[in-house]
């Protein structure tokens, strides 16, 4: 039982990332009709917003190390600490959550630039060409990051207060076998809030209503004299922000490197397909389901019976779904079924 709960929990944080990226992917596909292979790169860029923020916050000055007295030693001391003392240190400690403040405008700008500068020329072109151009863009983005930040993963610790693990098992009365890192719990909460906000935005604002109408029937909305182009731009930027924020918050779980986006992209596409192309709730549902499934597949008991299943389970599910129920779990009939 506790192993069961633990696997579900383990699956949820990965699932949260899948869900957030897939949400953006399907939002872009549903409204703009564009297959965006650069979406994983946006996730990665978000993660590197956090890296940048950390670098900025820890900009340091060489000062004399007073603790060493028998020769002149120097150490790096962040300006923040020099100026604000303990408050400064606390700010550095919270680098990851603080990065969100930076990631929102940065990702918004990146999204705007990408859409205006590239994607909009591809609305009328074939899916194959969309795939190709965004694939190229993804390579460009990740190589730029590699050139600036290097190829090695950058460790990003969570705030001290969220380090360590929560005794979830004790809360649930399952004994003390189920422990779960605090940060992952925070990540889950964050993912839930982000998903909730996107849905609320689409549900309760006029803008969201038009977007949903556009996903249901693009041609008609275009005929209603609504400025589709501008909305496309906003939707794209919004999706970029969502992926970016997921990337920011994911950094303490797996240290970011320039390639992380590609790994997530392939899986997120599978998630979109399983959930149903153009279905927002399908993307979220499938994201979590596949995350959990993957986590179960990596249990030792399962791997003993089916070795290597953890590596391929998601793809296997995708293949089966595409063959048996091409429109996906929650896709509408007739949408991209062929």
């Amino acid at each position: 039982m506790d192993a069961f709960v633990l696997q579900i929990l383990n699956g949820l944080d990965k699932g949260g990332s899948y869900a957030l990226i897939a949400l953006g992917l399907t939002l872009i596909f549903g409204t703009l009709g564009v297959v965006n292979f650069a979406h994983g790169a946006l996730f990665m860029l978000g993660a590197f917003c956090a890296v940048t923020m950390k670098k900025l916050l820890t900009l340091s000055k060489q000062i004399k190390d007073e603790s060493i007295t028998f020769f002149d030693a120097f150490k790096e001391e962040p300006y923040l600490k020099i100026w604000f003392g303990e408050t400064g240190e606390a700010i550095i400690d919270y680098a990851v959550p603080i990065s969100i403040l930076m990631a929102i405008p940065v990702m918004l700008l990146i999204g705007l630039a990408l859409e205006r500068g590239l994607i909009r020329f591809f609305y009328k072109r074939s899916h194959a060409e969309q795939i190709l151009v965004t694939f190229g863009m993804a390579i460009v983005l990740q190589e730029i990051v590699k050139a600036v930040y290097g190829a090695n993963p950058v460790p990003m610790p969570p705030p001290e207060i969220l380090q360590g693990s929560a005794d979830i098992g004790v809360w649930l009365g399952l004994g003390n076998a189920v422990i779960y890192p605090w940060w992952r719990l925070a990540y889950l909460g964050f993912a839930a809030i982000l998903i909730g906000s996107v849905f609320a935005f689409l549900q309760f604002t006029t803008f969201g209503m038009v977007v949903r109408a556009g996903m249901a029937d693009r041609d008609t909305v275009g005929l209603m004299g609504i400025n589709i182009e501008r909305r496309f731009t906003i939707v794209f930027a919004l999706a970029a922000v969502v992926s970016g924020l997921a990337g920011v918050m994911y950094t303490p779980i797996v240290p970011p490197d320039y390639q992380m986006g590609m790994d997530f992209l392939v899986l997120s596409f599978v998630v979109v397909v399983v959930g149903g192309m153009g279905s927002l709730s399908g993307a979220v549902l499938a994201g979590f389901l596949l995350g959990i499934l993957q986590s179960f597949a990596s249990m030792n008991e399962v791997k003993e019976i089916l070795p290597g299943i953890d590596q391929i389970v998601i793809f296997l599910v995708a293949v089966i779904i595409l063959l048996v129920r091409p429109r996906g779990l929650m896709g509408r009939k007739g949408v991209m079924e062929s």
């Binding site: 899916h127 190229g136 863009m137 050139a147 599978v270 070795p307």
Partner: protein, 381 residues
Amino acid sequence: MIKITPRNDMILLGGFILAVLTMPIWLTPIGAGYPDLLQRFAIYGIFAIGFNILFGLTGYLSFGHAAFLGVGSYTAVWSFKLLGMSVIPAVLFAVITSGLFAVLIGYISLRRSGIYFSILTLAFAQMSYNMAYSVLTPITNGETGLQLSQQDPRVIDSLFGVPVTEGIPATNLFGIEMSGYPGFYFCAIMLIISFYISMRIFRSPFGIMLKAVKSNSNRMSYTGLNMRPYTLTAFIISGMFAGLAGSLLAVTDPLAGAERMQWTASGEVVLMTILGGVGTLIGPVIGAGVIKYFENIFSAFNDSALHDIFSFLPDFLENAVVAVTGLFVGDGWHLTLGALFVIIVVFLPGGIIEGITRIYQRVTRKKQINSVTSTEAQPGE
């Protein structure tokens, strides 16, 4: 445009054979006239030709073709290990195995079209890649990659009493070692054969049916044609070409690693094909050559080489130029590749061949206009 006639095709083929076989001569002035690189030109040319039979003719965009390349390489290395160092069984088995692999993947993936097909092939390739690193380690030797060793059985070789040498023996064709120029010429002949097969397919009734798939699959079924076996056959043929290319990689350098199956490798062959010209006969070969050439040139550069090149500039300018160009060379070659990808798709979706055609048309049109104006001018004189 140049008309497609059997005679013109023969001229094209003749020109192609001549160009390929003389590559060591005419590529030397641009610094590409050495066997290692020439082998790669030929091998990736084959890969792209095969990919083009699927993508160029039927329009089905596979994002998992590198899997077949990998299967070909692994099979060839196993053939070297178990059977012997002759390249003939290696190539043969590689083509057959990748063909069988393509039957399996194609049969499932081709039940869908459009982006679903792309995602399915991508999923299969990723599965193969992941499995090569995990469950299939006994076959693939995981991260280390599959290598030859002194203790390999090499049944056929020992049967024929091939003397056991010290160290690992080299791959050979009837005793000719497949490294250096002999290796290149072997690959070149395979490239020529592949090109010829591709040309036959392009001009055949089968080829025209594949074009029909791309053009209008609806009309195709209402015309009484069953699309599925056509696309599946194209998929298998193109998988076999990829397997052949993979086996040649092993022939020229007998080891195989899973990174050959990574999806970036699949992306690369897509790029080669569109860079040269999707659906054209010769385009993919040119695309493969251009990419491998620039990969070679660009990756070799480093900052000091750049400083040498730009040393004529004033110092501050030199540093700036080197800093910017430095991003695109050496390890940054992939950045160039990505940028090239975007630029080609945006500005020249028909690839190099289309570019040449456009220039050709512009030139001939100018000539026509000139001749028209000159004849008009005459009566006035």
